[in-house]
Assembly symmetry: C2
Homo-oligomer: 189 residues x 2
């Protein structure tokens, strides 16, 4: 998606270790208009896909997910990274974060991810695909089906995209970054 | 807001200790259409208020905040509950959560909350007003101004609303709950 790529070149920052910082418009401060246009692009790309619900992970997946859900007129649910004290009947999966070098749990109430539901997973980044794998695990525990996965930004030099596509999952990423070597942002054309 | 009150009566659950659970449509699973209509209601109620930016706290404030920001065509920023390793120049404030009986920090980059900015704070719940007080503290550190505060649900039997209104802040809550005694939901008319 051209607008997103141009914005990444304009406002994204490369940090050491293959980290792309987009916190001025995606995951801390958010450009709400861009979020809506990215949601519209997902709706175009997943046209024809059965979607009963949009699933994401807190916190930075919530904004694009709720906008996609709004456009599709379906509910959205976000996996929590802490098990809330007021929640029972929890589906849980462990996710390893390379960025933070530690594991965390993601969880969804078994009331909001259920057998037979067809779900579109939306998240901000696809890198090693660990959060996506955690969601696949939760869906499998629930008997739900992930009919597609949409990411704002994919780093194709990490393994997540390959891993998900090799499982036959329909993956769409709005900007695919091939390399961040020498702190230069290079897109996959 | 009538639609929200009816939905709370239909799908909200009372738990011991004055807790109202709305995780089937607000803060775990989200009704995206309702979120947009609530955002439209905030825009109506804050018509005439100067707003350069919408501010919220992760995670459950993000969905309504980003929709208000979309409608107003301004950016949104969410305070994080953990200090990210890739962030420098951080404004930080300690918030005590009665629900969880513990304190946590909220933080915003000093790049995204700046001197002179006029901000509308949006959050899902107003109870004791501790998160709101934390945001006022961050804004004061930044030299920004909170020109209004909008909450989906206010519990008027707790002190937050009184505390904020006594400071002269324009507070709007879409559903005000007067009592949850005996697990019965009673609205303020």
């Amino acid at each position: 998606m051209r607008e997103l790529k141009e914005r990444i070149l304009k406002d994204g920052c490369c940090l050491e270790g293959g980290i792309l910082k987009v916190d001025s418009f995606i995951n801390h401060q958010m450009d709400a208009g861009l979020m809506m246009r990215m949601a519209e692009e997902f709706v175009r790309r997943f046209k024809g896909t059965e979607i009963d619900k949009v699933v994401t992970v807190e916190a930075s997946g919530i904004a694009p997910a709720v906008m996609v859900a709004y456009l599709l007129d379906v509910p959205a649910v976000f996996a929590k990274k802490k098990v809330p004290s007021t929640m029972s009947g929890i589906l849980k999966s462990e996710v390893f974060s390379f960025t933070k070098s530690r594991s965390y749990n993601i969880c969804i109430s078994d009331k909001y991810l259920t057998k037979g539901e067809k779900c579109l997973f939306i998240d901000d980044f696809l890198a090693n695909g660990n959060a996506a794998a955690g969601i696949l695990d939760l869906a499998s525990q629930a008997g739900a089906e992930i009919t597609g996965m949409g990411f704002l930004i994919e780093k194709s030099f990490q393994r997540g995209g390959e891993m998900l596509r090799s499982k036959g999952i329909h993956v769409e990423s709005l900007a695919i970054i091939e390399s961040l070597d020498n702190c230069e942002i290079r897109f996959n054309e």
